[in-house]
Symmetry: C2
Amino acid sequence: MSHTMSEVATRAGVSKATVSRVLNRTHTIAPETERRVLEVVRQLKYHKNVHARRLATGRSDLFGLVISEIINPYFPELIRGFQAEAWDRGFDVLLCNTEYNSQRRVSVIQKLIEGDVRGVAIMTASLDRSGTSELTAAGIGVVFCNLGPAERLVSNISIDYQRGIAQAIEHVVQLGHRHAAVIAGPEDNRTAVIIKQALVAGLNERKLILSAVVNSNYRVDAGASAVRALVAAPELPTVIFCGNDLIAMGAMNALEEAGVRIPEDVSVIGIDDISFAFLARPPLTTIRVPRERLGTIAFQALDKMLQLKRRKGVDYYLETDLVIRRSTAPPRSRELGSAGLLLERAR
Amino acid sequence: MSHTMSEVATRAGVSKATVSRVLNRTHTIAPETERRVLEVVRQLKYHKNVHARRLATGRSDLFGLVISEIINPYFPELIRGFQAEAWDRGFDVLLCNTEYNSQRRVSVIQKLIEGDVRGVAIMTASLDRSGTSELTAAGIGVVFCNLGPAERLVSNISIDYQRGIAQAIEHVVQLGHRHAAVIAGPEDNRTAVIIKQALVAGLNERKLILSAVVNSNYRVDAGASAVRALVAAPELPTVIFCGNDLIAMGAMNALEEAGVRIPEDVSVIGIDDISFAFLARPPLTTIRVPRERLGTIAFQALDKMLQLKRRKGVDYYLETDLVIRRSTAPPRSRELGSAGLLLERAR
DNA sequence: GCGGTTTCTGAAACCGATTACACGCATCTG
DNA sequence: CAGATGCGTGTAATCGGTTTCAGAAACCGC
């Protein structure tokens, strides 16, 4: 179907080598020759066979992006950032879902190695680092998100939740809240653990009463069931910090079901600022993490690392900020003087 | 870094050819030989170079999936379905965003041709069919969504919106609505056009008063601004049909801002049933389109078509169904006897 | 015990590019 | 003007597999 380089060569009356050189601008070429070759290329609609090229050069123009699950609204923007950056530089990306399954993760990484990718961004945030050594052993660069310091051939991007969390806590303190609860993410998730610690520490520092700290997973229904437990307890907090926006939305649903009003009775704060956070009713106050930027930085990290002679990993940092919307407000208890009263209302 | 087949061959005391045969199970092999080869393969952690393989066999194990924009919540599930299906059969997928940009679309398709993919699913729903002929000319299978009948090497998956729309209209008629409005998708989108026509026809048939039919684009803000125009008009419809869920959510926002209550004052119906539809306040009544299934069918269509001797495209059909949630209810006018009164309330 | 299969294996061509090396020719240089 | 330099190009090896073809060995039935 498609033509080969030799065809172009004979048609243009030159050798394969010359054609290759013209196409790759890898050597000086007589203008006239170049013109002739390009003319033939255009006529034949020739384009080179990437497989042959990859085989000959020994390197592919592929990068891998490993995520947990594309349906998780955390990822699309990240993917976008990564892909856009890769394409701009002429690279392709192989997107891989682990589906939260470590077995699958292993096979995905295996596949990427076989696919001879140049670098891999592992954005699952799971504590699992398996596969890393195989990757680096094969000379493939790796970049993680929130997973320990950089090493040889592995970079790390740390999302600094501290700032956003500090802002959020300041925000609720200003509003006058005294009773808080935390619904954190799963314990096998490094990011979730970091967030939980920061939240608890910050809340204690400001002397808020922490009526509950529960672990959940990053899904809507988990937020809902966590809240149902909270509502059943004698005293309801006036503000609930959620490990991500999905949990927050589940929490808001469950609160509404229980007849608790947001933000009048209880304020809710999420993390991530997924695209639907502002569409929630009420629009969700949340700590924004720059996900698209995370994607672009991840690619840049790989690209830069692989260009270095001494391929050393680098540490990157990303900041977070509070986005105030309408799911937070002064607690009712301030007006009515009692959390007990609030609870009554809520029933 | 990684070993070659010849290394394995010499280590196992056989020829390259034999190793290849063992690995591909492409020929009968003496059990003893096979054991020896596999042993060496395991020892060396050998895995074959895909580029060499692709070059030699002349075919890749890649498929392309072209979408508009990964951030659009319509797509993640579709991608998931497609990818899962591809992986199950040992294929990889190259995901490509066109970013709603026809120039970009062209270059993406060009890239896929160069990448030597076996087949491409173009799920952008744009009316644009450019690139198709280049694809089929290169022997690459194509599958579209809602874009005319199948041809040689191009299949088509039609989503039958009729059924879902009929159910939706029946639903609002049952509820007693008489005044409707339609906020449709963009006019250069085949699907949007089909939906609008079906909606208008169905509504007319049931003799509802169509106070407005506007074209919009598939974004939240578009839904909002369309509604603002509607609210400014003297008579507010009692039910608004939206071209997709994003529009619907934007519409609900704008309605709320205008002090119109949903569903008491106005009912809203979306299309797609994106994952956030049920998290909207109130949860959105919508016409579900089976997007994950669309993805799997798209892949199966390609796979099947490419296995055929006579590579003929096939037409597939997917049904839609109404999902009733809480954004629809009987119109207030039924109780109060007048749409005018309703409007007053809304101010 | 012999021709005819069948089973297993190896040698070598081939896929379509890249690239090291060599060579011819024009241009400098002293 | 001899020798050095540099430019433009072709030849051929190479990347790491797959596959055709053919040959050796084992097996078969009569």
